[in-house]
Amino acid sequence: MLIELSGVSKIYNQGRANEVRALTNIDLVVEQGSMVCLKGPSGSGKSTLLAIIGCIFPPTSGRAAIADRQLARLPDRFLTLHRRETIGFIFQRFNVLPELTVLDNITLPLLPLGVPPKERKERAQQLMARFGISHRAEFPAGQISGGELQRVAIARALINNQPIILADEPTAHLDTVLSWEFMEIMQQLQAAGKTIVIASHDPLVFEHPAVERTVTIKDGRLHAS
């Protein structure tokens, strides 16, 4: 298995007046090459769970192992390094930097890795060709269509060939056609061996045939479905 969470809890501002219990006793296993959907309303804890799987912060308690590495005691710096190698993120609204070109947005994760410009460009060109956005390479990301934007976000998540793709409400701002197109691409990636976890409350996502399993989060607790 690639992702294994056992008894994971997350408490923000622990011990303070504004303490918030975001997750309680989560057990979740995601096998390599599978596609799992985290379903739940806003504020249910989906993004917190995604952040723990994405090595953004460790859980307050419990055991979290991502790609065979225990996260609980990893210092912040190692979490970042682990995230670089393991996780590709696709955000809600895709979170591209609108003034940067499509090419520059896609290569952003490679800059702190010390990848030389030529190699960065080659890797990005391969992905842009794969997703049909090569003609937009030099366009500012703020000037391209929603469909192209989603492909830029996917290309960016794949640029370092990470084995896990995490997507946070990826279809929240897309129409049905583009949402369907997004899921088609996810299906292709899954077929290519990527492990995919999508947090969404869009039926088009969690009812998609490629989604092998949907888990529901409500008030920070997991309900298998």
């Binding site: 995230r83 979170n95 800059l111």
Partner: protein, 398 residues
């Protein structure tokens, strides 16, 4: 590994450049304000340095020791008879009497400095001929001749004529003929100067025979200036003894004080700018917070974001430094520091048309860098730590 790190820094530098370009309006305005402050500071530094150098160079012509008679703490005329007493002091090479004063031209509302000397008695190496751009010194018997500084020539319109008149205290006119003009290189001291025969100066000011305003004393061994000055003080207790090093020091202090005063004002402006930069760097716009959060989720470390801020600040401050210092050099060399002339040139109405050539040593450049780039880097990079710790999860949804 080292190569990878260099490549990483180059990538981050590349990103910092693109980041500055994306916020070009803001970056450009910071660059301009910062360059303007550096321009003012560097101009001040350069002009003070050049003036001090120039004064040092010109003061080489001043006598090694100057003697003035003091009474009730004020200067008064000194009897020529003191010359005899000075002759007995071993080590004195020559004693030249001088009448030195100011002449207020009511028509032009300008002060001229008048100096009457027995120029022919001045020792080799101290003669004024060397500082003349044209003309020559007349013989000892010649009367009514003068050497003038550049501004005197301009003020009295002496391009087309060689004669002019000045009023005696009884309002009768005394005529003079221009025999030569001082070199522009000595403008700082000779710009408003009229040099004439001692007898002519006595006549112009109505100073009785047997009195002069001071004595110029030249010594045989310049290393003995202080010793001889002490001997003179002992022999003539009512006489104020001024040595050339003391005068040089006074000039340095005067320029240093003026420059210091100006520098304090400019440093206050710099401090205000640095505080503003600090304030700006510590507060983040929602776009900046979002960008940092995205970068962190994409695998950028806090140190990478700090490095980006560092490069951005270094580029802005480096460019501002180059721009400011180049502008300062042009301002000082080609525009004779026109912005600071009222502060640095004193009260003279006939201000020298200075031709300054700053000598920028590595130490001066480092000083300017230390007062500008380093505070700016500190003011932007240190608070950037706070911004770089924006939690990565703020890029995620709820």
């Amino acid at each position: 590994m080292a190569l990878k790190n260099i490549e990483k820094q180059l990538n981050i530098l590349d990103y910092a450049l693109s980041s500055l370009w994306r916020r070009r309006a803001k970056s450009f305005s910071i660059l301009l304000v910062f360059a303007a402050i550096i321009f003012l500071l560097a101009s001040f530094q350069m002009v003070t340095q050049s003036l001090s150098d120039k004064a040092k160079q010109v003061l080489a012509y001043t006598p090694e020791i100057t003697l003035q008679k003091m009474s009730a703490g004020r200067q008064e005329a000194i009897p020529l008879a003191y010359r005899e007493q000075l002759a007995g002091i071993f080590g004195i090479r020559r004693v030249v009497p001088r009448i030195w004063g100011y002449y207020f031209d009511e028509v032009r509302l300008a002060n001229y400095t008048v100096m009457g000397m027995e120029l022919e008695n001045m020792p080799e190496g101290a003669r004024l001929d060397a500082s003349l751009a044209n003309g020559k010194m007349p013989g000892p018997e010649a009367r009514g001749w003068v050497f003038v500084g550049h501004s005197i020539k301009e003020a009295l319109n002496l391009d087309e004529r060689y004669t002019f008149s000045l009023f005696r205290p009884d309002l009768t006119l005394k005529a003079f003929t221009v025999s030569g003009e001082f070199s522009r290189d000595t403008d700082i001291l000779t710009n408003d100067l009229i040099v004439m025969n001692l007898a002519d100066a006595r006549d112009l000011y109505g100073i009785p025979a047997g009195l002069v305003t001071d004595f110029c004393v030249y010594v045989a061994n310049p290393k003995e200036i202080d010793t001889i000055a002490k001997k003179i003080s002992t022999a003539l207790p009512s006489v104020r003894v001024l040595t050339r090093p003391q005068i040089q020091k006074t000039y340095q202090v005067v320029f240093g004080w003026r420059s210091g005063f100006g520098s304090i004002c400019l440093l206050a402006a710099l401090a205000a700018f640095v505080i503003l930069a600090w304030d700006k760097a510590s507060g983040l716009s929602p776009e900046e917070r979002r960008e940092i959060a995205i970068l962190k989720v994409l695998g950028w470390e806090t140190s990478d974001i700090l490095a980006t801020r560092f490069w951005e600040s270094l580029i802005v401050s480096g460019l501002a430094c180059i721009l400011g210092m180049t502008a300062a050099y042009i301002h000082v060399v080609y525009f004779a520091a026109s912005l600071f002339r009222p502060v640095l040139m004193g009260w003279s109405v006939l201000r020298p048309d200075l031709h300054l050539l700053p000598r920028m040593a590595a130490g001066d450049i480092l000083l300017i860098l230390a007062f500008t780039v380093i505070p700016y880097l500190a003011a932007t990079v240190i608070p950037a730590w706070r911004s770089a710790t924006v939690p990565a999860d703020s890029a995620l949804g709820g």
